[in-house]
Every structure is written in C-alpha cells, then in structure tokens.
C-alpha cells in the first residue's frame, strides 16, 4: 500500500507532459448500441480521443460500456472512467488500465475525482455511492442517509474537500463530511441525471433532471431554483458551464437538441436545426476555441458548433451513442 501511494505521489510530482505546451484534448465515451449485447462479437465501444476533422483514436477496452470520464486537474495521465464493470483507472493517459473495484461494485454511472486531492474519488452506482481515499487502492460504501441508494451522478465541490453532491432517483443529496453522511437537498424529489459545478465560480451549480429540466444553485448547492421557459419540463441528460465564462451554459437530453444560455441560466434557447438526432448525452465547451461547443448524440456521433447552436459541424463517430465527453488539458 505504501509503495503504491508513493508511486501515485511521484506521478503527480512529475507529470509526463509539460504544462508549458498545455493543450486540451477531447475524450468521448461511446456506446455503440446497434446489435450490442453482452457476449456478442467485439464492437468498438469505450473511450475515443479526437484527432481532428472526423478522425478518432480508440483507447483501452473495446467492449466496455463507459458512462463517465474524470481526470485529475494537475495530471491528465491520471484518469478514472465509470463503467459497467467497475471504476477503471489509468496512470499513463490511457495506455493501461486497472479495474480498481471488485465484485461488490457494478453498474458505475459516474465518477468524480476531487480537484483538491486526487486520492479522494467518488463513484455513483446503481446500488449506491462508494469512495476511495487512496486513489482507488481500496473502496468502501458511503450511503449513510442516502435513500434510495440508486445514484446516477456525483460531483465534488472544487472549493471544499468536505463537500460533494450526488443525484439519484429521488433528487439531490449533499454531503458536508466527505460522503460519510448525506442529506436531501434541492427543490424536487425527481431523478437527477447530471450535476456540474464551475471551478472558477464554485458557488454556481447546475443539475439536469428527468422531465423537470435544469436546476440551478447559486450558493454552492444549499438552495436550488428551476430554469424557466421551454426547458423546464424536459429530460436533461447533461449540463455544462463554460470554463472561463460562467454565464455561458448548455444542456441537452431526450429529444431536446441543445439548450444554450448566455445569461447565466436566466434564459435558455433551444437549438435543433441541423441535428439528425435530438438525443444529447455529451456536452463540452472547447477550452481551445472559446466559442466552440461540442455535443455527443445518442446515435449519430459527435458535432460541434461555433455560433451558439445556429449551425453544426459533423465531427465523426457515425452511429455512435455518446455517453460522456470531456476535455483534458495537457
């Protein structure tokens, strides 16, 4: 255990990529569902890295349903994915992977590495929340106060080691003691599909819900309001906030196309034109191009827009059901 801790620490002290030439790379997790059943022939599911235009490189397992990706802010080679068979970790930017969980953990929907301590990682699973404090060397259940335990999304508070918010079948749950106990928060006991916060403005949080649109908190998740307009009764699978401009937000879900807000969530405009499928399950603002928004669709691959959704550019992965997308800065 001590050796592994030391190894992880060294990796963080000496990251393999120089930050001087920092560039953000786009990773997406893909579920090719067409004809997919467990035990069928190998299909190119799993993690992809964008190479430009419509070209993508596959990374790691080829037959793994991955639902979420997260990385340590200070070391892009340290990454976790939430997958059907557990929480997988790479220490070398995806060249090799380890399933860090065991038989007790399955159907992992989301993973969140704490930005202030990469050893502290939470996973949301269909049977509850698990956490590790040693970078995945050991895991334990962390469900005290969580009812029901089905959890789909989890997000660490970038400003506090103690705070973490989870979303499940009956709403949002807040922990202020590193997941040791949970209390309901938020206005509605509705299924929550995604939670996001902004590191630059840590008081601002968004949550996507089933049939209740987007929930917004401007006080670090203590109280929540509901986004108004056409978005308010939609099922929202993913929400995102621009890294450097917290007034710029996006949301997408079942048959929604993309909702974009340019005023910090006060108003939302729906964009459907030019999209073959309106089911959106991946969203990311491009750190390299300040106005570029990427989306991952459920069945028609990846697109990006540079005009706030007025037009879309196809970026490949035809037929793919994208479950998550994330920029990782090198």
């Amino acid at each position: 255990m001590m050796k592994k801790q030391l190894f992880l620490t060294l990796i963080f002290l000496f990251p393999t990529i120089s930050l001087v030439t920092a560039k953000s790379n786009l990773y997406v997790s893909v579920l090719i569902r067409e004809n997919y059943i467990v035990g069928a022939k190998n299909l190119p599911t799993g993690l992809y890295l964008w190479q430009g235009d419509t070209t993508w490189n596959h990374i790691g397992w080829k037959n793994l349903p991955i639902w979420s990706i997260d990385t340590a802010s200070e070391n892009p080679d340290y990454m976790f994915v939430a997958a059907g068979n557990g929480a997988l970790r790479t220490l070398d930017g995806g060249q090799s992977w380890k399933i860090t969980t065991d038989w007790r953990v399955t159907e992992v929907s989301d993973v969140s590495i704490h930005p202030l301590d990469h050893h502290l990682v939470y996973i949301a699973t269909s049977y509850g929340i698990w956490k590790t404090t040693d970078g995945g060397e050991s895991w334990r259940e962390s469900n005290n106060g969580l009812n029901p335990t089905f959890t789909q999304t989890i997000q660490c508070d970038a400003s506090s080691l103690q705070r973490v918010i989870a979303g499940g079948e009956e709403g949002l749950f807040l922990s202020t003691n590193q997941g040791e106990s949970w209390k309901p928060t938020g206005p509605l006991p509705v299924p929550v599909k995604d939670i996001i916060s902004n590191r630059q403005t840590p008081r601002l949080w968004l949550a996507g819900t089933e049939k209740h649109g987007v929930l917004i908190s401007r006080n670090q998740g203590k109280t929540w309001g509901t986004a108004e307009g056409d978005i308010q009764d939609q099922t929202i699978y993913k929400v995102t906030i621009h890294q450097n401009n917290p007034k710029l937000m996006a949301a997408g879900g079942y048959q929604t196309g993309v909702f974009i807000s340019r005023d910090g969530g006060q108003t939302w405009k729906q964009n459907k034109k030019g999209l073959k499928t309106l089911d959106i399950h991946g969203l990311a603002f491009d750190p390299n191009e300040k106005q570029r928004l990427w989306i991952g669709t459920m069945g028609d691959g990846v697109y990006f827009s540079e005009d706030f959704g007025k037009s879309w550019n196809y970026a490949g992965l035809s037929g793919a059901l994208v479950s998550d997308m994330k920029f990782i800065t090198r």
């Binding site: 035990g39 397992w61 037959n63 159907e107 049977y127 599909k193």
Partner: protein, 602 residues
C-alpha cells in the same frame, strides 16, 4: 359467464359443506422400471463418450470441438492449427472465457510453446467484459478463478484488468463463495431457466474438474449436485417444467430447443440426443451424478407436488427488497406437469409465469405446452434491473430482446397478473389498468392439441398428449390463428382463467372428463377485482382474489413458511445452505455449511 352471487367468503363455507363427491377421478399411476445402479452409471458414461465423440468429429472450428479433441488426445496437429486460428480473433466476453479456460486446462501438457505463449498473452490483450447478469458472473468468475490458479504469481500488467493473479484469484473466490451461499440460502435469481441452465452448469463443472483448492473443488462438486437436483425434480421427459425466470420466445413454444434438454439427455437419458457445448463440458469434467438424481428425474409413477422458493434478480430501484421472493409450485405426473410462480414482476423481459406441459412422443417438435400472460412492456420494469435512461431503455432492450415491446409476445411478467395453483388446478387473474401499453391478454394454445372444444358451459376443453385440460375464461375472448398455434386473445381488463387438469387415465373417456368438470362449482367475479371460487376435481375449494392471499378449503396459503425446496424428493429450508434428497431407500444430504455430504441407503 360471470356469476354475481353471495360474498365469496360465505360461498366458500357453503361450498365446503355441500361439495358433490361423485365423479372423483381415478388415481394416476404409471409403472417405472429403472435399470440397475451399475447400468445407470454405465449408460451415463456411454452418453458422455458419445457426446465427446460427436464434438470431436465435427468439422467446424469452435472451442468445444477443440476441447473434445484435446480430451481424447486425437488429431492434435490439426487441433493446434485450428486453435491458432481461433486465437487470432477472441470475442464473446465471458462466453469466450469459460471454453477458453477448459481448453487451457485440457491442453496444458500438450500445447506447443507458441500456442502456449499466445494463449497467455490473450489474457492481457483481450478485455472480456464481466456482464450484468448472474449467469455472466458465474462464467466470468469461475474462469478467472481457474486461469489465475494456472498462472498464480503474475503481475497486474499481464492481465486484462490490471490486477495481479493473486488479486484476481481472491476476488473470484470471494464472489463464488458469496454466490453459492446466496443460491443455497435464497435460491438463484436467474432461477430454473431452460435457456441459461447450461451457463451455470458449465462453469461450475469446470471448477469441479480443475479447482486445486480442496474446499472450492468440493463446493463446486456439491453445487453441481444441487443444480442437477433442482432440474431433476422439475423434469418431464427432458423438459424443464413450471415457471421460469428466463426463456426465449421460440423456446417457450418449443422447449426442446433449450439447453436444458441437452443436459437432460446427458444426465438422465430421458429424451432424444441433443448436443450442446455446455453439456459437453459437463461430460468432460468427470462429474458423476448420484444415482438418486436419475430416479428423481425419471420416476413419474406417482404424481407429486414440488414447491420451491427462489428470488428475483438484484433490483436497483423501485423496490424495497433487493431480492423479492418467488414462490414456485408444480404438480408433476407421468403425463403432464402444471407449474407456476405467483405472478407480478419477478424477472425482467423473459419471465414465464405458468404453463401446463405434457409428455410428448415427438419432443423435438415441441409445442406441447399451454399458457396465458399479460404482455406487459414498460420502462418501469426495465429500470428496476437496468441503469439505462428512461426514455431510451425500451428501444435499447428491443435491440436484443426483439419481442419485448410486441403486443403478441409470449414471454414476460406483468404487475397485473397473479397466479395461484393447488395440485392439478390453477387460477390466473388479470387486473389491467386501461392506460397500460398493451391492454389485453395473450394465450398460447398449440395446434398440436388433439382437442380444443368450446363448451356451452363456458369451459374450453383441450387434450394435449395424455393430458386433459379444462380452461374457464373469466371474460370474453377470441381466437387468432398463428403459425403453429392459436392465439387466445381477450381485451377485457378484469380477466383471468381457471384451469383444471387431469391425466387421461383418470377418466374413462374425454366426455367423462368434460362431464365431471361441468359439474364443478365455479363462481367468478371481475368487479371490482377479479375473483374466483372453485371446487376442484379433487373436491377442494379454492378461493382467490387479485392482490389477496389465496386459500384452500378456507385456509390461507402460508407463503411465510414456504421452503427453499419442498417435495417428496427434495427438502431444504430457507437460509439453511443444506439440501436433503430422498428417493425410496436412497438418501443424500448436501451441507454447504460444513462442505460435507452424506449418502445412505435405508
């Protein structure tokens, strides 16, 4: 058809007091002449040998074909060449793992170095997914346990999942022990599936054959007996009878096409030859079924009631119980079996709640069964067991389970269906809300029925093989002709049926059976809830209202004390991890607490 009389409880008492005793059926007996003990063992070995020879002589290229040749040590050069080809394109996750492990052990002293190296390398370069079902995990962890036993000291970077041999071995061992404890305490979640039976038998056979650890080897050998006993007691001429957790649409019509019949041929010799790769592995494993199980599977000279307790698959939401109880009930005689589970949602997609299956002289043709169901289709059901998005989950499931969202489907459970069985009689009730996706019930009446007569009394009289079936609908219905069967269709939302069965030998003629059934007292009601009072051919009074505990002769059915196994052949209490087998003077006990067995002859 619908009689509105006195309150049901009052009627129940009256019926008990004045039930007619005439027209009682004659007892159903048949003669059982088993071979001698040595002959039973010899015949089993002969079937094993012939199955292995069959696979060895195939001209295809599968791990099963290769395993058979390695076992026989025949055609080795050709076998290595074929194996080399297979190694170039691994696929199938846990369905790849267990045959690969079998081949690895059978050939470990035979393989040339290049094959050996390639086989080891695949465990790093191929990434088998663990899957999401009980059968997936049984195959995955049994394989992982054995292959890490073969390579006990390798580091994590030589394995697909990054874990060391020791980590993988320990995890596999923990899961397998957990699974076996759960199975022998509360039953399987994927219980009694004719299609998936082999997916449990094959990996357990591997463990039994190759586990070095004496405790694990013993545990696996005992579990084989346990799983074989579970099937033996619900076996009718090779068919796995009664309610099932999982069965496919084609197989629910033709039970011959399941892997269970392949195992029945091999283990019990009570049906025609049917090859399966999974039963091949049992044959290769060296497993010798105890003689008592041969008799339990074959002796139908006396009719018997066999009850079991099972559990649902793990529920992730919409349920207060992670594993809800399943109550199985079977009446089995030489000519047919009537079997059921209590209804409701007990397993996603492929549940089979009740049927009558009759003995057939032409088992390969199947279509020797009759049943009804409500074709329920809902994201709510699927979300209990799967994590996918609500609005997309039905479409995702239909990709592989193509009939799930079909109004004509013949498999699946429903929250609007309840079944209650007592011996040869069954009452199935439906209370379907109007807004449900498919507001009707389906029934499967095969054209192989030698009789299907609609009677003025309201009964439908049928005969399948030597089984006589009386079916009393609670609501109007129609027949829709389909390929090979008549689809019984009723769009009445408060619905149900009473089923009375008998063996042909119990009556002098079909007309006598009809006459006897017509005289039975039956009182049905469909409002506000479907409800039935029925006096059976055995002169027992059954009362059942949708959503309530049924009763027999005024006594409520005791589900609280329902045993894990309860029949003349098998006895086990819940959470006991212990099973008793009894057949005449033969007895055997499996005790998983102490990992001991006891066999004796009285």
């Amino acid at each position: 058809m619908i009689k509105r009389l006195l309150p049901l409880t009052v009627i129940s008492v009256l019926l008990m007091a004045c039930s007619p005793k005439q027209n009682q059926p004659k007892p159903a007996h048949s003669i059982y002449h088993p071979p001698h003990s040595a002959e039973i063992a010899h015949q089993y070995q002969t079937r094993c040998d012939s199955l292995i020879d069959y696979y060895a002589s195939l001209q295809n290229n599968t791990y099963f074909h290769i395993a058979a040749n390695l076992y026989l040590r025949k055609n080795l050069e050709t076998t290595f060449a074929k194996l080399d080809t297979l190694l170039q394109n691994p696929g199938g996750d846990m369905f790849w793992m267990y045959p690969f492990v079998m081949v690895s052990f059978l050939g470990q002293d035979l393989f040339p170095p290049n094959i050996r190296t390639k086989m080891r390398t695949l465990w790093k370069t191929y990434t088998p997914f663990r899957g999401d079902t009980e059968n997936h995990w049984a195959m995955y962890y049994a394989s992982l346990y054995l292959i890490t036993q073969m390579y006990p000291n390798d580091p994590g970077n030589t394995w697909f999942n990054g874990k060391t041999s020791r980590e993988n071995h320990r995890e596999a061992e923990e899961y397998l022990i957990h699974w076996i404890e759960l199975t022998t305490s509360l039953g399987q979640g994927e219980f009694d599936s004719p299609d998936y039976y082999g997916c449990f038998m094959a990996p357990v056979a591997l463990l039994s054959a190759f586990a070095k650890d004496a405790a694990m080897q013993k545990r696996a050998a005992m579990l084989l007996d346990y799983l074989v006993a579970d099937f033996a007691a619900e076996n009718l001429g090779g068919f796995y009878v009664g309610g099932h957790s999982r069965i496919y649409p084609r197989q629910v019509r033709n039970g011959w096409e399941t892997t269970a019949t392949a195992f029945s041929w091999l283990l019990f010799g009570n049906t025609l030859f049917r090859p399966s790769g999974q039963s091949l592995f049992l044959a290769i494993s060296g497993y010798q079924p105890p003689e008592i199980l041969y008799h339990i599977a074959n002796d139908r000279s006396e009719a018997y009631v066999h009850k079991e307790y099972k559990r649902t698959r793990h529920r992730m939401r919409y349920s207060e119980q992670r594993n809800a109880p399943v109550y199985k009930y079977n009446y089995i005689c030489n000519d047919y079996a009537l079997g059921s589970i209590q209804g409701g949602l007990l397993q996603p997609i492929q549940q089979h709640t009740w049927d009558i299956t009759w003995s057939s002289d032409t088992p390969r043709q199947g279509y020797n069964t009759l049943f009804t169901l409500h074709p329920y289709s809902s994201a709510d059901e699927l979300k209990m067991y799967f994590t996918y998005e609500t609005d997309l989950i039905v479409d995702a499931i239909v990709k592989s389970k193509t009939t799930y969202d079909s109004p004509e489907k013949l498999t699946g459970g429903s929250p609007y269906e309840r079944a209650f069985q007592h011996r040869k009689s069954l009452i199935v009730l439906y209370d379907i809300p109007p807004q449900t996706r498919f507001p009707h019930i389906n029934g499967f009446f095969p054209k192989s029925l030698s009789r299907r007569e609609t009677d003025d009394s309201g009964w439908i009289f049928c005969q399948g093989g030597q089984a006589l079936i009386a079916f009393y609908p609670l609501a109007p219905y129609e027949w829709i002709e389909k390929d090979g069967y008549w689809r019984y269709f009723s769009s009445e939302l408060h619905n149900g049926a009473v089923v009375q069965t008998a063996a042909q030998k119990e009556f002098a003629s079909f007309e006598d059976f009809k006459q006897a059934v017509r005289k039975l007292r039956i009182i049905t009601n469909t409002s506000p809830k479907p409800s039935v009072l029925f006096t059976t051919l055995d002169q027992e009074d059954l009362a059942f209202t949708f959503g309530e505990i049924p009763s027999v002769n005024g006594v409520a059915v005791d589900y609280n004390n329902w045993k894990l196994f309860d029949s003349p052949f098998l006895q086990a209490t819940r959470k006991s991890q212990r099973m008793e087998m009894h057949y005449k003077e033969l007895h055997k006990i499996l005790d998983f607490n102490s990992l001991t067995t006891k066999t004796w002859i009285n």
